[in-house]
Amino acid sequence: MQIFLPIAEVSVNLFLLLGAGTLVGVLSGMFGVGGGFLITPLLFFMGISPAVAVATGANQIVASSFSGLLAHLRRKTVDLQMGVVLLIGGLVGAALGVMLFNYLRSLGQVDLLVRLCYVVFLGIIGTLMFVESLNAIRNTRKGRKAKRHKHNWIHGLPLKMRFRTSGLYISVIPPILVGLAVGVLAAVMGVGGGFIMVPAMIYLLGMPTKVVIGTSLFQIIFVTAFTTMLHAVTNQTVDMPLAVLLLLGGVVGAQIGTVIGLRMKAEQLRILLALLVMLVCAKLGLELVLQPNELFSIAGIGGA
């Protein structure tokens, strides 16, 4: 059954959309990731223009993160103070990102920007995760434990602030910068940015692992909501029915994924996720490098 998307102005198979939503939901449940970085490329592959895919992806992440955040708030694993500091950076970053997005859109280069961002970030993250989880598997076999981080240059910066929930006393500059970077990515790539923020919070800021996910979700919701608004107001590229369908699949998929995730070992999961990320990266990368069948394109919805 086909369904006509009013903003994207294409007709897509309903079950394909629900299936994509479910698949990404399963993966996000299994790996504990938002899934935005998989949804947006999947929408590209379905022929939805990058401008609509990015804006709608941001809207969909609001929904999937919200149910996650509720669970974390109940367990009190959210550092609200840190969340707000990250958020300040995030909002500025999102505004900058949308400005960059609209500028490149007027030049006709937004498609390239989005794809390049995906290739670069998916490539880096995929490779890092792959190497790290391989090492982790090797280390657990040898019975070694991973090192804990120590004091670094972060602790020499001014404007220090006490973060009670995280038990940290650090400068606000690094979290603001982390938030800023994630905000730009949210606006340009239509992702939550958890895959950048979570490692940054653990390794750079030294936050305890148990509050990392909840705090990042807190920041992601507000930044993606802000991004959705910016895209809706400046480009009119948020496709509501598309977001709702992805979300329906995603919600069900996430519950299935959580069950599967509990039955597998963390390292195996991470290697799988790394391979998946590298696969999506390779597909997008090849499309940039190989000569396309059609060299010409007509500027479509959102100018992409």
Partner: protein, 253 residues
């Protein structure tokens, strides 16, 4: 009323005005609903004449259906630093979002080149491009690209020999419109030709419109984007909250 009179006068102008089109349409309105999957329009009619059928080569019928025209930016990719990047772009002044032309005979027999120029019947003639920047070499390639890309998507169609004409009096054809249609007034034109010359033309309009929820959402996103954005967010948050509550209740029995 005046418009119809004017049209009638116009139709009386061509040399062999004794043959006229009487037209029927399967529907004069296409509604884009949520499950819209393209539409097929049946265009049929009769040729009204006071005298008997003239001698000589038979009458041919050409039917064209054109969606709303608008300015299009066409971009060309080139390899830069190993990747394919959009470089040159040309703005084509007016290209119809949809264009189908059906004939009752092979193209060359149906209409001559001069008549095609005058009435803009063939696909390349339906596109207007004058303002290509001087810096761009081979601007024609950009117009050709529009035709090629839209033909592939079923948006431009050349349907030779698909108009059935019975005894030079009755004709019918059907045009398939794909799912990815643009809203607007679609202009249907019917030409009667003899020896490639147009002897009568009849115009009518088919409305293509989004309806229901589709129309409402699209309208809201343009007229009040702030409200649209807030509504999207509200739905997203409600869905997220609803899902988490539902599954918690499920787990707790």
């Amino acid at each position: 009323m005046m418009r119809w009179l004017f049209l009638l006068v116009l139709m009386a102008l061509p040399a062999w005005a004794e043959e006229e089109v009487v037209l029927g349409l399967s529907h004069d309105r296409v509604s884009i609903t949520a499950d819209f999957n393209g539409s097929e329009i049946l265009i049929f009619g009769a040729i009204k004449r006071e005298t008997k059928i003239p001698e000589g080569p038979p009458l041919q019928v050409i039917v064209s259906l054109a969606g709303p025209s608008r300015e299009e930016t066409v971009r060309r990719k080139e390899r830069r630093f190993g990747i394919w990047v959009n470089t040159e772009s040309v703005v084509v002044d007016a290209a119809p979002s949809f264009y189908a032309v059906a004939t009752s005979a092979p193209w060359r027999e149906a209409i001559t080149q001069t008549e095609d120029l005058r009435y803009r019947v063939s696909i390349p003639r339906a596109i207007r491009s004058v303002g290509a920047p001087m810096s761009v070499m081979n601007a024609q390639a950009f117009s050709d690209a529009i035709i090629r890309i839209r033909k592939e998507n079923g948006l431009y169609q050349l349907l030779e020999n698909t108009v059935a004409v019975d005894q030079q009096t009755l004709f019918r054809t059907s045009i398939k419109m794909p799912a990815n249609l643009t809203e607007g007034a679609y202009e249907a034109r019917i030409f009667l030709t003899r020896e490639g010359r147009v002897i009568n033309q009849f115009d009518t309009v088919i409305d293509v419109q989004k309806v229901g929820l589709e129309r409402w959402l699209y309208g809201l996103s343009r007229s009040n984007p702030m409200a649209y954005g807030l509504l999207s967010l509200t739905i997203a948050i409600l869905a997220g909250w609803g899902a988490s509550t539902a599954f918690r209740m499920l787990r707790n029995g």
